[in-house]
Symmetry: C2
Subunit: 241 residues, 2 copies
């Protein structure tokens, strides 16, 4: 919201937990919602409108259209969340159609989502700039996410290992480490030291295509998804030699 | 084009044989193109712009987005042309994104296409009116189509049986016939009397959902697809009791 106020004359915020981007075994029903707090934050930041549709407005009877991408979702979160990015692309196209903004802002924590939305907008010739907003972190480094509310105190410590892994990896690449497998193995060890964690993936990849990188000779994206208790957490960082 | 001039202040025409709506065994390469004649007609009608992209502009390297509908394509032409309406929905979304019109006109000969485009526009909240233009027929009743150029003289006679079937069925329904199967059986007999024909489908269906109708107690769509030589021809008509 702050970034929108910096960049635009008018700011519209959407608040919508989008059912079609959740898989059948995922946490749609439990997903943390706090509309009152969201509205208070919107009010304090000073946005012009908040759009809070309900699911039957977005997906009325007879709704039958899906936007699917065939390459970007074949990486990272797309592998463990089949259909997720179709749901993301479809709802974002709808939100863009409804609001018709000049630009739209997406957080870089969901880096793959940002790429998917950018590609969809390019492929469908939508006249909107997609702007990434840097990850916002808590004091302990944990990337802000609605799902952080799931974390008990001891899980919170485990969750912080994601950020520690990323900053550590960044240092090592800066210091000359060029092997992705070495970086990934160290990251695994550090995270698995916390028994509450279950790694979904740890990847070092091309920041544009998300294809895996083996030898680091330019900027790469390190991205990871780790379950801590019931919270599936993601985080990422650009590593530069 | 004429309808556009009637309805709008500015008219943009697109001329594009869209590769992604052709199946691998279909007639993409042979599909009749006559840009000079198209441009002459556009010029005579007095349109404001003609958009003639080539396929690499519409689908550059890395293009990966498809818009798919899950109900309407499960009928009529969608059954013998898998993926066809995904290609239609995708290219139309792109054309709408590029031209950003207030309205877009689609011929009613491709009735299912018109429904697919309307549904896609509704589902994705695109702010454009989709307008149907009535079928334009040759003097002998044959619905105008680029593919009519495929027809040799004797095939042309066979091709006219589609229109005869539709007008005959319309009369019979008006006169009180309520059984769709009776209508369809007569239509089959009439068309199969021409040995050059191969029926793809003859359907009597709900004009909104395209679901098959058995007892005609309101307006129904009669639609058919018939191969005559190498030309796959379609036609349709609303039948009203």
């Amino acid at each position: 919201m702050k970034k929108g106020r910096e960049l635009a004359d008018r700011v519209v915020v959407s608040i919508f937990v989008n059912p079609i981007q959740f898989g059948p075994s995922e946490d749609l029903a439990a997903y943390p919602r706090d509309e009152a707090r969201d509205l208070e934050m919107a009010d304090k930041t000073g946005v012009d409108a908040v759009f809070i549709p309900d699911a039957t407005q977005m997906y009325p009877d007879g709704f039958q259209t899906t936007i699917a991408l065939n390459a970007l979702p074949g990486h990272l979160c797309g592998l463990s969340r089949p259909g997720h990015f179709d749901g993301v692309a479809t709802v974002v196209a709808k939100l863009l159609g409804i609001v018709w903004p000049n630009m739209a802002i997406f957080g870089e924590k969901d880096y793959q989502q940002l790429l998917v939305v950018r590609q969809m907008v390019k492929d469908l010739d939508l006249d909107v700039d997609i702007v990434g907003a840097p990850i916002v972190r808590e004091a302990d480094g944990l990337a802000m996410s609605s799902r952080n509310m799931y974390l008990a105190d001891d899980q919170r410590k485990a969750a912080c290992s994601l950020y520690r892994v990323l900053t550590e990896s960044k240092k090592r690449v800066k210091a000359g480490e060029t092997r992705a497998d070495t970086i990934i193995a160290s990251a695994e060890a550090l995270i698995q030291a916390y028994p509450e964690t279950r790694i979904d993936y740890i990847a070092v990849c091309d920041p544009s295509t998300l294809d895996a990188v083996t030898a680091i000779d330019g900027p790469v994206l390190m991205a990871l998804a780790v379950k801590v208790g019931r919270a599936r957490l993601i985080d990422n960082m650009l590593l530069t030699p």
